[in-house]
Amino acid sequence: MTASVVLQGVTKVFPGGFAALSPIDLAIDPGSFVAIVGASGCGKSTLLRIIAGLESRSAGRVLVDGAPVEGPGRDRTMVFQDYSLYPWLTVMQNIRFCRALRAHRSEDGRHAEAEAERRSVALLNLMGLARVEHAWPSQLSGGMRQRVAIARALMAKPQVLLMDEPFGALDAQTREVMHDLILHVKSAEKRTIIFVTHDVEEAVYLADRVIVLAPHPGRIDTIETIPFAARTRDLRLDPHFLALRQRITERIRATAGMGGDPDGLSALAAPVA
């Protein structure tokens, strides 16, 4: 139901010699929630795509429950930032998409169809989608679409749920709702979750551990263990929470820059008359 993920010396060099990831070693416990943050271009999405098997690696190994990853598989489903839903299928048909695939039918027992039916309804309710069961994706808001994408990924009963900036295109209010929904999903489904984001607050609020990647080439800079037990909205205002968030943000800023002024703000011209 849930699995460990182990990265051993995972390296990525793009054709042309651009080193996206220098050797990365990382062990993720079964059932834990790991967030990967870092400056843009640090290779966090590339790392996630290598775990998914969507991107090839130049060296190293990825082990899921001890078994090496060779290409994508239903044990590691992925939620994308946008445009991944099938617009010709209704909400429920999208959630049940994996049932049309041979990989999901071949190993089924006799009661599989009834069980899948039950599970899809349960996921529909878990994600608060019951009202829009028969709607087309084009009729939904961005937040509702991402709920469908998450339910569809969970329908395959993955051991690891991979999320690539899943809320990056949502507004701040919707994002907060999605955070609490994800925490609810985590406690209900108990799956290993690897979550890539550029939003540090999101990472600290959701994860058990936050991995900071540094760019050029991508490598692990720091790993922060998040100590908070209860994740409620009050936590966002907690001084410890804010301090941790600040510390991680400063690490990202420090790793991104080539000096004290990485964004070149001091060189800005005087106000234009």
Binding site: A52, G53, L54, P72, G73, R74, R76, T77, M78, F80, Q81, D82, Y83, S84, L85, Y86, P87, W88, L89, F97, C98, A100, L101, R102, A103, H104, W136, P137, S138, Q139, A149, R152, A153, A156, L162
Partner: protein, 281 residues
């Protein structure tokens, strides 16, 4: 408080001036209601008809060069009475349908594979780009040589005129399917075959319908080319024969009929698209 009220009173006249409840229909990409759309569409046809009628009624132009609308209707009735009109329409429709269907049946799967697999693209795309610039009309003598004067020659000419364009356009439709749709299927455990059938084809289908609707127009062009050269029936042939006898009015009937058939099929396919793809916003 008082400041707010002041601001409110100041804003009001400005709002009346700029944000009227009926925004201009000339704003770029603004919406137009159905009623006004139909009114404008019909009036363009009406204007064309009126201009035509006015020129011929003025007597400034010899009817040999430009027959009057009434003259064209008379020619239509005469054509119907001599019993060949429906046969000519029927045979032309059949040729277009056969040539177009042959192209579509081959181009849709091939285009899908070109859009899906890079090796297939490398094999076929450059050669299709080359072939689509070969003038189909120049193939007429070859087609006659290879397929004779029968129906096959006409169908092949329509095929030459439409197939290569169609493959490239269908491939473009397939390659526009968002990568996230494909990758989501891959992480759910879909095989290549399943991605092709359940994602690529389904996702690109509405765009492919648009492509087929466009290329159907090309098919009519090459039908007329085929019939102008080697036929003894059909709308294109009738136009050519009318030219020999200086029956300008009959030429007009043939041209207008082809235009009308195109318009009607186009509208029918649009309706079908609305029914087949209700999820399109």
């Amino acid at each position: 408080m008082s400041e707010r009220m002041e601001a409110g009173t100041k804003v009001r006249p400005a709002r009346l001036a700029t944000g009227s409840p009926h925004p201009s229909i000339w704003q770029i990409r603004t919406r137009l209601d159905r009623g006004r759309y139909l009114t404008l569409a019909t009036s363009s046809f009406a204007a064309l008809l009126m201009a035509w009628w006015a020129i011929t009624a003025s007597g400034a132009v010899n009817p040999m060069f430009l027959p009057s609308p009434a003259g064209v209707i008379d020619a239509l009735v005469a054509w119907y009475r001599d019993g060949t009109l429906l046969d000519d329409i029927g045979i032309s429709l059949w040729r277009v349908s056969a040539g177009f269907a042959l192209s579509a049946v081959m181009a849709v799967p091939l285009g899908l594979y070109v859009g899906a697999y890079q090796p297939v693209r490398a094999l076929f795309e450059p050669i299709m780009e080359f072939a689509r610039y070969l003038p189909a009309v120049a193939f007429v003598p070859l087609v006659l040589l290879w397929f004779g004067l029968g129906e096959t020659a006409k169908i092949m000419l329509i095929w030459i005129g439409t197939f290569f364009q169609m493959v490239l356009m269908i491939a473009e439709d397939a390659s526009r399917v968002p990568m996230a749709q494909i990758e989501a299927a891959r992480t759910l455990g879909a095989s290549n075959h399943e991605i092709l059938n359940l994602v690529l084809l389904r996702s690109a289908l509405p765009a492919m319908f648009d492509t087929l609707r466009m290329t159907l127009g090309f098919a009519w062009t090459y039908l007329v080319v085929a019939e102008l050269i080697a036929a003894n029936s059909g709308l294109g042939f009738a136009i050519l024969r009318a030219q020999r006898f200086m029956q300008t009015d009959r030429i007009f009937v043939g041209i207008i009929l082809i235009g009308l058939i195109g318009l009607v099929t186009d509208q029918a396919v649009r309706r079908l698209q609305k029914r087949l793809f209700p999820w399109r916003a």
